[in-house]
Structure formats: structure tokens, C-alpha cells
């Protein structure tokens, strides 16, 4: 840690409130690197633009994370052969993939890209480790990552017909001789227009017919192919989209159909509302939803343009304090602000692996939502009494490294402390509120920290060495456990 570390000051400089807000909503945790990037960029709008241009941000640590896992990039046929031989399990593939996803969120410098990858992975949701989809799951993730800040239309084209999706929602069994409606229905309901758009059962049947012909050799080689002889031929019509669909190779019709859905005003509204629910509040105004939907349509589904409209709307800046972190966000944020980062995998005590059970213990496990609709985007879902108790315990655990994490980078206690002494208990509370929450300590936080020690705020420490480690752990956990510590 360099001598110019932020924490060296007894009163570390905090970002202007608007900067802190944007960074808090669009990163997995405002750590020292994010603070430095924001300070260097001359305004949060510039920082946001640089983050949108994600391919220009060097990110070697994140790019290396797949290499921690021996099998994560296995070809589908190889993955299944390892299951058949008993060498490993689909569950293990899923667990590796979820662990990789969590680790990458902590270490990546492309934080806006990570956040949006998470958002789209939750909209076009496929769990990890599910039998019919897991051999292609990492490949599917690459599709989401490629388009996470690109065009929704192009992401939809690749995601809907991806072999992982075909397996998950049974499209590989959807043929002209036996229609399987699963993917055709969820495409309308979850991925694009949504139920209020008012499609009927005939629309669903046509939707499924358009998607016939895509094959995956599930429980075999998992080879993906297109079989024109399985494709339904004949006129199809879905919500104003119609096609003669006369060619046994229906893939051109599929692309036209997906483009039509992506550009549909109902899709624009649905995606805009979901974005606003993630980034603004559980109950966004119709005005901001309309502004975001308008930008989405005007830009031909360009995600960057859509996000710009969101952050520039006055409702966004006014929404401070409206969102609570999910358990997964809590784990990632706590690691980042405490200066704890995974750096590899050697066993079950590797921090990357521990993060999975840490968030599970609070109440959410990466890619373990059981249904195709993804985790709820509403904060109210995660604001239960039971969740808070578990988060409070987790913050003590992390502040004290009580899990004995391995394969991890941690800032030493000396490097977390200010260099100017003496300081009072109230000063230490303020120092850590600035470092961990990006804001000065409120009087309630100072009182809370003092009360935890059953001591006055004016209790003075002559030097860093006079602060016992248990006391330091307690200060940090008390700050993270304040209501403000749970807000995103």
C-alpha cells in the first residue's frame, strides 16, 4: 500500500455526494480504486463514460479469473464425458461457475460492465449447474458479457437460441411434430414484451413454432445444430409480427422475430422499468421509466444510450438511500471496501469459495434462483428482519477474518489506520465511515461505536499501536452494520 493511501489521513476525503451515489449504484463497492478513478476523471459523467467504454479499461486480474478453475472452459462434450466417467459433477461445474462470477465482481476494474453483466444475466436468467444447460453455461456467459453494454437486440438474438438456453427451457425438444411452448412463452413473458402486452395462446403457439429446429444433444455430446426438417413451416403470427415462414431453414425468420420483439414498445417499457427498479428505486416514477424507454427505442436498443438517459434523469440523483444491497451485493461490497480480494483457488478455505456460502448464509446464492424469472430486483425482497440479522453477523465475520480465508489479499491493520495521532473513538468512527461508506460519520454512528465499547466518544488513543485488534474489528463492523451500511 502506498504512502498516499486514502486511509493515512485522519479525515479521509470523501467524494461529492453525487459521485458517491453514482459509484455506489453502478459498482459492486466503492473501494479506493473507484474513488481514485472518480477523482481523476473530472466529474462523474466522465467516469461513467470511461466505464461504458469498458474494452479500453485494462483488467488483467479479472481476465485471469477463469484460469483459477481447471474445468470451467471445458468444451461441452468434454464436460459431459467427465460426468459420465464420474470424475466430477454438474453441481461442481455450477459451483465453479458461480464462484468465478463472484470473484470477478470483486476484482474487476470494469465495474459498470460487471454490474450490467449481472443485470442481464438476471433478466435472461439461466441457473448454474442445471443438467441440461451447464455444459454450455460458461459460453452463454460470454454472450451476455459481450453484449452487456452493446445492443439488446443483438444480445437477444444470441441468447435465445444459445444451446444453454435450449437445454434450460427445453427448446431442443420443440419440433414441428411436437411443439414445446416453454421457451416460446418465456421469451414473450420474461425476456421481451411481458404479460401486460396482451398476447394470447395463439401468439404463444406461433412463438414456439418459430423457434423449432434448434437441437442440442442433451445427455450425449451436447453438440448444437440446426435441423431444418424439425422446423415448423407455414405462416406464423405473434402480436403484429407475421411471416410466411416457408423456408425449412427458419433462422432468418427467428432473427426478424427477435428483432421485432426487441424493438417493441412493450419491451422498451419492461426493460426500462426493470433498469429503474435496479438503479433508482423499487417504485420508479412513470416519468423516468418513459424517458429510459424512449432512449432505448430511439437508439435501436443501445444499452449505453439507455443508461445515459437513466443517470441523467433528475429522479436518479434524487434516489439516494432508496436501494438496499442484496446479500450477494453485500458480500462483494464488504470485501471491496474492507480491502479483501480473492487471488486464486487452492481449497475450500479459499476466499473465492467462501464467498458463495457467505452470501448463501445471508439468504441469496449466486445463480441458484430456481425459476426462469431471475432474482427479484426489488429491495423489499431483501429487507427482512432475518436477512438483517444474518448480515450483521457476516460483517463481524468479515471485519475479523473469522473464517480464516486463504488465497486472499488483505490490507494489514497498520495500512488501514490513520498516521496522525492521538485520535478519539469518535474520530475512529468518522475515519471508518469515510473509508467504508464514503461519508462522514453521523452522530448516530459515533454514538453507536462509542456505545459498543461502553465508553465515551472522547476516549483517546495515543497511537495506532494502542488500538487493540478486537476494538478495530468492532469499529469497522459497527459502521458496516449501521442502516447506511446496508444501502447501495
Amino acid at each position: 500500500m502506498s504512502a498516499t493511501r486514502l486511509s493515512a489521513s485522519a479525515s479521509p476525503a470523501v467524494l461529492p455526494a453525487e459521485h458517491q451515489h453514482v459509484a455506489s449504484r453502478f459498482t459492486f463497492g466503492v473501494d479506493e480504486a473507484v474513488v481514485a478513478d472518480l477523482k481523476a476523471s473530472g466529474g462523474w459523467q466522465h467516469w461513467f463514460e470511461r466505464q461504458l467504454a469498458w474494452t479500453r479499461i485494462p483488467d488483467p486480474d479479472a481476465v485471469r479469473t477463469p484460469s483459477w478453475f481447471a474445468r470451467i472452459e471445458d468444451a461441452p462434450a468434454v464436460a459431459w464425458s467427465r460426468i459420465v466417467s464420474g470424475e466430477t459433477s454438474g453441481w461442481q461445474y455450477g459451483n465453479d461457475f458461480s464462484t468465478y462470477t463472484m470473484a470477478r465482481k470483486v476484482v474487476s476494474r470494469r465495474q459498470v460492465h460487471e454490474v450490467m453483466t449481472d443485470f442481464w444475466s438476471n433478466l435472461l436468467y439461466i441457473p448454474a449447474g442445471e443438467d441440461r444447460s451447464f455444459p454450455w453455461r460458461f459460453s452463454y456467459d460470454q454472450v451476455i458479457r459481450t453484449h452487456a453494454l452493446g445492443r439488446f437486440r443483438m444480445m437477444l438474438r444470441e441468447a435465445v437460441v444459445h444451446p444453454s438456453m435450449s437445454g434450460w427451457l427445453n427448446n431442443n425438444t420443440n419440433t414441428k411434430n411436437g411443439i414445446n411452448e416453454n421457451l416460446g412463452r418465456e421469451l414473450l413473458e420474461l425476456y421481451t414484451v411481458g404479460r401486460p402486452a396482451g398476447y394470447d395462446e395463439n401468439d404463444v403457439k406461433s412463438s414456439a413454432r418459430i423457434l423449432t429446429g434448434f437441437k442440442v444433444d442433451i445427455f450425449g455430446t451436447y453438440a448444437a445444430s440446426y435441423k431444418p426438417s424439425d422446423h415448423y413451416v407455414g405462416p406464423v403470427s405473434v402480436m403484429g409480427f407475421s411471416a410466411k415462414n416457408a423456408d425449412p431453414d427458419g433462422r432468418a425468420v427467428v432473427n426478424d422475430y427477435l428483432d421485432y420483439l426487441a424493438r417493441h414498445p412493450a419491451t422498451a417499457n419492461r426493460i426500462a422499468r426493470r433498469l429503474c427498479t435496479r438503479f433508482v428505486s423499487d417504485t420508479p416514477s412513470d416519468a423516468i421509466v418513459a424517458a429510459v424507454a424512449k432512449a432505448y427505442l430511439a437508439s435501436d436498443t443501445d444499452i449505453k444510450a439507455t443508461l445515459r438517459a437513466l443517470v441523467r434523469h433528475p429522479d436518479f440523483i434524487a434516489s439516494v438511500g432508496q436501494k438496499v444491497r442484496t446479500p450477494i451485493e453485500d458480500v462483494i461490497n464488504t470485501a471491496r471496501v474492507l480491502g479483501v480480494a480473492p487471488k486464486g483457488i487452492s481449497g475450500d478455505r479459499s476466499f473465492a469459495r467462501q464467498m458463495i456460502w457467505m452470501s448463501t448464509a445471508i439468504g441469496q446464492q449466486q445463480f441458484e434462483w430456481p425459476r426462469p424469472d431471475g432474482f427479484p430486483e426489488t429491495s423489499s425482497t431483501w429487507t427482512s428482519p432475518a436477512r438483517l440479522i444474518r448480515s450483521w453477523s457476516f460483517h463481524y465475520n468479515m471485519a475479523g477474518n473469522w473464517s480464516g480465508s486463504q488465497d486472499v489479499t488483505m490490507t494489514t491493520m497498520a495500512d488501514q489506520m490513520p498516521t496522525t495521532w492521538p485520535l478519539t473513538l469518535g474520530d475512529l468512527a468518522d475515519h471508518q465511515a469515510r473509508m467504508l461508506l464514503g461519508r462522514p460519520a453521523s452522530s448516530a454512528m459515533r454514538k453507536a461505536v462509542a456505545a459498543t465499547f461502553d465508553a465515551p466518544e472522547t476516549l483517546s488513543f495515543a497511537s495506532a499501536a494502542k488500538v487493540p485488534d478486537w476494538a478495530w474489528i468492532t469499529v469497522r463492523a459497527a459502521i458496516l452494520n449501521s442502516p447506511e451500511g446496508l444501502l447501495r
Binding site: 427445453n170 425438444t173 420443440n174 419440433t175 411434430n177 411436437g178 411443439i179 414445446n180 411452448e181 416453454n182 412463452r185 413473458e189 420474461l190 404479460r195 395462446e201 404463444v204 438496499v324 448464509a361 439468504g363 441469496q364 430456481p370 425459476r371 426462469p372 424469472d373 427479484p376 429491495s379 423489499s380 425482497t381 429487507t383 427482512s384 428482519p385 432475518a386 436477512r387 438483517l388 440479522i389 444474518r390 450483521w392 453477523s393 463481524y396 448516530a444 454512528m445 454514538k447 453507536a448 456505545a451 459498543t452 461502553d454 463492523a477 459497527a478 452494520n481 449501521s482 442502516p483 446496508l486 444501502l487
Partner: protein
């Protein structure tokens, strides 16, 4: 020393078991209001009341496999690879029979403690998983307020509902049925609901006091949740002890999520904290592919888990009624993958206290082509009528017009 060692002032009733566990002497010095609350709850005997367990079969269970209409030629014609021969069914009568995997529940059926209901569902078809679940669990289509029917039920049974009145077991996400103004709890267990420093009562009490003050001063749902969390944590330890103590008999639950959730539910009932409604999920009923073996293993888990649950409850089973619900049935005709797509009318089971079991109840619409709704079994009984019949029998003080506003339906007669 904090001023309220319990921190329970938001939850005024049913601390009976805690009182029992702690012993009266341990309460000396605690504020009088708490003593008053405890005495009140003892008078009302909150821990000995009736309990409704709502088991949601998530994904849309195939009612035509759960209760097979074996007298219908149309069933066998529409399902060349997935129908079940009449000779294999359990507890069959002239029209219906249970799927063979229900064997572990046949003793309960024969004792008259389990009834099968058919052609049940929403008043109009909805083949979306998520929308159908929302409709079923909100159960008040005329209102835009997001309040679930179980929340309305617990609100109707107490002027100040307790956090343990309505509990979701097995998931940390609150189901729509429990969402609403009455506090409720969603958890997998109780061992992880204690505050930090459980080995240091002084430190733990200090942290409870600090967090309570901080969250009480914070506006909105987060502040309220924090305040409730302190009250919850103060009681979680005793409940966990009751849950982990296990039952007197040696009952073997399946090691499935449902088996674990029902074992925890039995412990919660034994703990006598006054729970009135428990919501449980059983996932994996969305059988678009390979209906045959998949539903066989799903029903086997369901039947073994419920059989273990009632064996575990013993005499407490006389207070507990279980009802199964699923968002919709499946299409009559199987699809191209030996599965069945989303349909409409469905089967429901009622088990336990008050059930006039050992038989089937249905205004059976038949599967004739003129009787189907868009290729599906029709609905002849609103699912809310089924729930009302149970509530009427087991919670007679409840004003049903507030739980299911505007519903008028003739009972099927499956409750005593």
C-alpha cells in the same frame, strides 16, 4: 444494561415457550409491560391454536397425474406415453385414483385424514407461472394493494399479529401470500437468527441495544426491518432449541428440501410460539419434459415428507391442516418430449385436522372435448372456495370476507 432485555414490544403475544424456557424467576426485574404481555398470551393459550400449512407445488403440478381420472378414455388417448394404468393406482374409486407414488400416504387416506379435490383453480385461465402464482397468493383481484391472503388471514386473527403468526419455512424470500402489513418471517431455520456474540450475553445485549436505537431512528422499511430483527433475534435461540431437540419418535424425513422444511415446521409447531400459518414451497413441478419418471420422484418425495411430518407431529397433528396448491394444471395432451405444457384445472389435497378424508371431492367437468377449456381440464371450483372451507372449519372467528373479498362459492363438503 439495556432497558428492555427482550426488545419485543412490537410483538405483544405468545412468548409462552420462552417463559417456560427461561423460568419465571429469570424475568424478575424486567419491565412490567413485558410481564403483562406474557400473562396475556398465557391466558389466550397462543401456542395451542390451530395451524394451517400451505404447501405450494411450484411450477404447475400435473393434476391429472396426481389424481388420475382413470374412467376417462380421453385421458389415455391424449397421453400415449405418460398416462398411468388404472390397475396401478392407489385408493381408486369409480372415477379417480392416486398416483402410485402416493403409497406412503395411503394409511392417512384410509384413516380418513386425507382428501383429494379435483378441477380446482383460478376463475379464469392464466398459463404464466409468475402471474398465476401472484394471482393465487394475492387472491384479491379487485385490489391493487399488494397484500397476500395469508397476511390478511393473520391480520384477521389478532389485533397485533406476532412475527411468528405467519412463517415461510425453507426459503428466505417472502412469498406473495405472506406479503403485507402484518409482520412475518421467512427463513430456512432458526440457528442463524441469533445476534453476534451469542457466547457473551453482555456484549450481545449491548449490540442489540445499539442496533435497536440506530434502526428505530432510520425511516422506512429498512428501519422497521431492523427493529423487528432485534425482536426476532431475542427469541430465535429458544425456538432453535425446540426445533433441534427433535421429536420423541424416530421419524425419518427424506433428505430433500421439502423434507427438511417440514421437519423444521414440526419443530416450530412443537415450540408453541403461536404460529398460525406456515407457507412451504416444493419446487420442480414444471414438467415440460419426461413427465413420467420426473413426477414419480416428485410425488414420492411429497408423500414421504408429508407422512413423516404427521408421524412426527403426533398429537399436535390434531391442530394442523395441510393444503397443497399449484399455480395451474397441465395440458391434457402430452407434448413432443413426453411432457405436458402449461394448462388450467388442477388437483388439490387437504390433509390433517378437520378433513373428512378417504374420498375424492369434485364437480367433475369430464374431459370430453366440449368440456375442455382450450385443450385443458376446466375449473369447476374456485381455489379460494377450497381455502375458505378450510378456514371456516379451523378458524371460525375469522371474517372470511376480508381474507377473500367478494368470493361466494358452494362448499365441496370436504371439511368436518
Amino acid at each position: 444494561m439495556i432497558d428492555d432485555a427482550c426488545g419485543c414490544d412490537d410483538y405483544g403475544v405468545s412468548r409462552r415457550s420462552i417463559l417456560k424456557a427461561a423460568g419465571l424467576a429469570a424475568l424478575a426485574g424486567v419491565t412490567t409491560s413485558m410481564i403483562g404481555d406474557v400473562l396475556t398470551s398465557t391466558v389466550y393459550g397462543a401456542g395451542e391454536g390451530n395451524i394451517l400449512v400451505v404447501l405450494s407445488l411450484r411450477g404447475g403440478a400435473d393434476g391429472l397425474s396426481l389424481i388420475v381420472p382413470h374412467a376417462e378414455k380421453a385421458y389415455y388417448a391424449a397421453r400415449p406415453t405418460t398416462s398411468i394404468a388404472a390397475s396401478k393406482l392407489q385408493a381408486a374409486d369409480a372415477t379417480f385414483g392416486l398416483h402410485p407414488a402416493f403409497a406412503p400416504l395411503v394409511p392417512l387416506w384410509k384413516q380418513g385424514k386425507m382428501a383429494g379435490l379435483h378441477a380446482i383453480g383460478l376463475p379464469s385461465p392464466n398459463r404464466s407461472h409468475f402471474e398465476a402464482m401472484e394471482l393465487i397468493e394475492d387472491a384479491d383481484p379487485g385490489s391493487s394493494a399488494r397484500i397476500g391472503w395469508l397476511n390478511r388471514m393473520i391480520s384477521g386473527l389478532a389485533s397485533t399479529p406476532d412475527v411468528f403468526d405467519g412463517v415461510q419455512i425453507g426459503s428466505t424470500v417472502t412469498p406473495t401470500s405472506l406479503v403485507g402489513p402484518a409482520a412475518s418471517l421467512s427463513t430456512s431455520g432458526f440457528n442463524d437468527l441469533r445476534l453476534p456474540f451469542s457466547d457473551n450475553p453482555t456484549g450481545q445485549a449491548r449490540i442489540a441495544s445499539i442496533l435497536k436505537n440506530q434502526y428505530a431512528a432510520h425511516p422506512g422499511p429498512l428501519g422497521a426491518a431492523g427493529t423487528n430483527a432485534i425482536a426476532l433475534a431475542s427469541r430465535a435461540g429458544e425456538i432453535d432449541d425446540a426445533v433441534t431437540a427433535g421429536s420423541v419418535s424416530s421419524v425419518a424425513y427424506p433428505k430433500s428440501p421439502l423434507g427438511k422444511a417440514l421437519a423444521t415446521t414440526a419443530g416450530l409447531i412443537r415450540a408453541r410460539v403461536g404460529v398460525k400459518a406456515v407457507a412451504l414451497d416444493s419446487g420442480g413441478w414444471d414438467h415440460h419434459v419426461d413427465l413420467g419418471w420426473r413426477i414419480d420422484s416428485g410425488i414420492a418425495d411429497l408423500a414421504k415428507s408429508l407422512a413423516a411430518f404427521f408421524a412426527d407431529l403426533g398429537p399436535d397433528g390434531d391442530r394442523v391442516t395441510v393444503v397443497t396448491l399449484s399455480e395451474f394444471g397441465r395440458r391434457l395432451t402430452e407434448n413432443g418430449a413426453r411432457g405436458v405444457d402449461h394448462g388450467y384445472g388442477n388437483a388439490v389435497f387437504a390433509l390433517g385436522a378437520g378433513v373428512a378424508g378417504g374420498q375424492y371431492y369434485s364437480r367433475w367437468p369430464t374431459l370430453g372435448s366440449g368440456s375442455q377449456i382450450d385443450g385443458d381440464l376446466a375449473v369447476t371450483t374456485d381455489y379460494r372456495a377450497v381455502l375458505m372451507e378450510i378456514l371456516q372449519a379451523r378458524f371460525p372467528s375469522l371474517d372470511l370476507s376480508t381474507v377473500f373479498p367478494g368470493v361466494k362459492a358452494a362448499p365441496l363438503g370436504f371439511m368436518r
